[in-house]
Symmetry: C2
């Protein structure tokens, strides 16, 4: 039944729409036209209408879109209320920050476990969870059936743990390790976050700006 056909470019814009609509709603804006929204978001009205029409007609001719209704619909599409159980591997600096900083519950997930291979970290509290030792992973997965995992581990460990987690039923990876995780099977999805790449892109921009100046 599903809209398998919606392009990735469109999907990746949905969270941004969701954010802007949230802001508008908070400010008390009731309705908005694609043109007005396009100005706020620095894109074209055409694109907004095209994007939204991938999922159905959310607007009304002559009126525009109802802000909170549209936000709700996009939230529905993204599945922000679906509460998929997710676990986090690697309770280092980055792992702890992600665990406490990311509002999983507002974004379609429920963080139910944090794991680390270092026994010294076992029992340490992060938010309302206690770090468990990675040895417990298999049993925990059998008992709690998480479907997603955040990887905050060194790149050397990524490939192996991803494979292991797949055998425990994990279907989605949010990968912060410095390694390009690839979804071999189509029943596993990967979102690689490469902060370093983002930073280097910024360096390029800054340097080429300087070059042009001269």
């Amino acid at each position: 039944m599903s809209k398998n056909s919606v392009s990735n470019s469109v999907i990746r814009r949905l969270p941004r729409y969701y954010r802007f609509l949230g802001e508008l709603e908070k400010q008390g804006t009731v309705r908005i036209s694609s043109r007005e929204l396009s100005e706020k978001m620095a894109l074209t009205a055409s694109q907004i209408r095209q994007d939204l029409n991938c999922f159905g007609g959310f607007g009304q001719q002559g009126y525009g879109y109802n802000v909170s209704e549209l936000r709700e619909k996009i939230g529905e599409i993204l599945g922000v209320h679906s509460g998929n159980p997710i676990i986090l591997i690697g309770a280092g600096n980055l792992g702890r920050t992600i665990a406490t900083h990311m509002s999983f519950a507002e974004r379609g997930f429920r963080l139910i476990g944090i794991f680390d291979i270092d026994p010294k970290l076992s029992g340490v509290e992060i938010g309302d969870l206690k770090v468990r030792n990675s040895i417990e992973l298999e049993r925990f997965c059998i008992e709690n059936s998480p479907t997603a995992a955040v990887l905050c581990i060194p790149k050397e460990a990524a490939a192996e743990i991803a494979k292991r987690l797949q055998s425990y039923g994990i279907k989605a990876f949010w990968n912060f390790s410095h390694f390009d995780l690839r979804s071999e099977n189509s029943d596993v999805i990967v979102e690689n976050v490469h902060l370093g790449d983002s930073l280097m892109t910024l360096a390029y921009g800054l340097n080429s700006m300087n070059d042009t100046e001269k």
Copy 2:
């Protein structure tokens, strides 16, 4: 003189090439053809050749590319050795993690200052830097001329601090705040990192996978 014409899609792939070439070099691979590299990176050989040729002919017909030479060249293009002075605003959880975790020096930057509005954080050591109070920002910028800033602050503060920093000469922003910073003038560049958006994209993928299954 500069290659202003190189498309953003190409630029965003450069750090990934750089990473893969680094791995290859580490493994002792001396030469690689676009076809071999394309298999490792899961893209087409055509694309690799097209991408690289935006910057000049780095290969040799009948041979391929010299791994470490190519890596060096791409590093040059990205400016990984350019050491642009950068400051970080917001020494909370996320700020501390970014400061310690990002290897700025390998990616074209030199982290020279960390700031927070909370006076209680002043003097706290992060890596080899001490947190300063945001009051000192202007003087610090005059004395040290940073050209870039990392924003690890709440979204409410982002617009204002970005404006202020621009008046102190900051040209590039790496923005982690939950706010879409926009570069009004073309002499300022922005790299918005929206981890929340990335996570929601993953939720969409996971949910639509479940939908299709049934």
